[in-house]
């Protein structure tokens, strides 16, 4: 289990992209390695990959904020609670191997989960309020005890905004739509973020 790996379990759609990017960026900024399954993988391969990513990650971030449909015409999303359950199951069934594994559960509102998934009460559950800056703050604050030298959330948020400008400009120049979550693979996004942050910190 890699102590810098963070398994990410979240929605993969364009409306969530505004939260996923700052989530990935904040992890890269504090020198952690986001582990995220590509959406293009087929069902069985995807489940095995998720299991592998969970096994290799000391930390997991589960965003359950899309338990409800975003629009009246949409259905709720069950992938996130399902993968969260796999993660909890692995930890409970292998308490020695995963003794140091830690979970951060994200929600839109602080106490809404109690009405729909009360079994997870007692875990670290934080609300990002669908706000990108708040996403950076809750993630940064959660990792603070593990890394006393961690930068302030404001520093990460300011850097993220500058990155966002470069991200839009570069993707447009390459013929991609920067608002499309599928424009690049997640591994591309993380690789580009990491390269950008490395140079930004040297300024």
């Amino acid at each position: 289990m890699n102590e810098k790996n963070v398994f990410i379990n979240c929605p993969f759609d364009n409306s969530y992209f505004k939260l996923l990017k700052p989530l990935l960026f904040s992890l890269c900024y504090i020198d952690l390695n986001p582990q995220i399954s590509e959406t293009s993988d087929s069902g069985e391969i995807r489940l095995h990959k998720i299991k592998g990513l969970i096994e290799d990650s000391q930390y997991s971030i589960h965003d359950l904020s899309r338990m409800e449909p975003m629009k009246v015409s949409e259905l709720p999303r069950f992938n996130m609670p399902f993968e969260c359950g796999i993660d909890f199951g692995m930890k409970l069934s292998n308490p020695e191997e995963f003794a140091n594994k830690k979970f951060l559960i994200l929600e839109k509102e602080q106490y809404r989960y109690q009405k729909v998934i009360s079994d997870i009460s007692g875990n670290d559950i934080k609300a990002h309020k669908n706000d990108p800056e708040q996403m950076i703050k809750v993630v940064r604050d959660w990792f603070k005890p593990t890394n006393p030298g961690i930068p302030r959330h404001k520093e990460i948020w300011l850097a993220y905004n500058e990155f966002e400008y470069d991200y839009e400009e570069i993707l447009k120049s390459e013929g991609y739509d920067p608002k499309d979550i599928n424009a690049l693979t997640f591994s591309d996004i993380i690789e580009n973020m990491t390269a950008w942050i490395e140079k930004y910190k040297m300024k």
């Binding site: 293009s40 930068p151 905004n161 500058e162 140079k199």
Partner: protein
């Protein structure tokens, strides 16, 4: 279907973008109002209660050539030469 970009070209563009200073000043939403941030700076040079106030403060930054105004989610609202 996600396109797989060539590693060298795209990643080097990101590295180069983060390395260079192009005289851009960013107006960024924050919990305390609107921050004015020079490119590459780790802290705000000014914080104003309103977006208009922050844009005015950004225009006063001597080295600024372009002013980038961000939306609440960090995306770009406008990108203008300093007027």
């Amino acid at each position: 279907m996600a396109k797989k970009a060539t590693k060298s070209s795209l990643t080097s563009k990101f590295s180069k973008a983060a390395s260079t200073n192009s005289g851009r000043v960013h107006v960024v939403p924050s919990k305390s109002g609107w921050s004015v941030k020079k490119e590459g700076a780790k802290r705000s040079t000014a914080v104003r209660q309103t977006k208009d106030g922050a844009i005015r403060a950004a225009r006063e930054v001597k080295s600024s050539e372009r002013i980038i105004v961000h939306k609440k989610d960090g995306t770009i609202q406008s990108n203008n030469k300093r007027g």
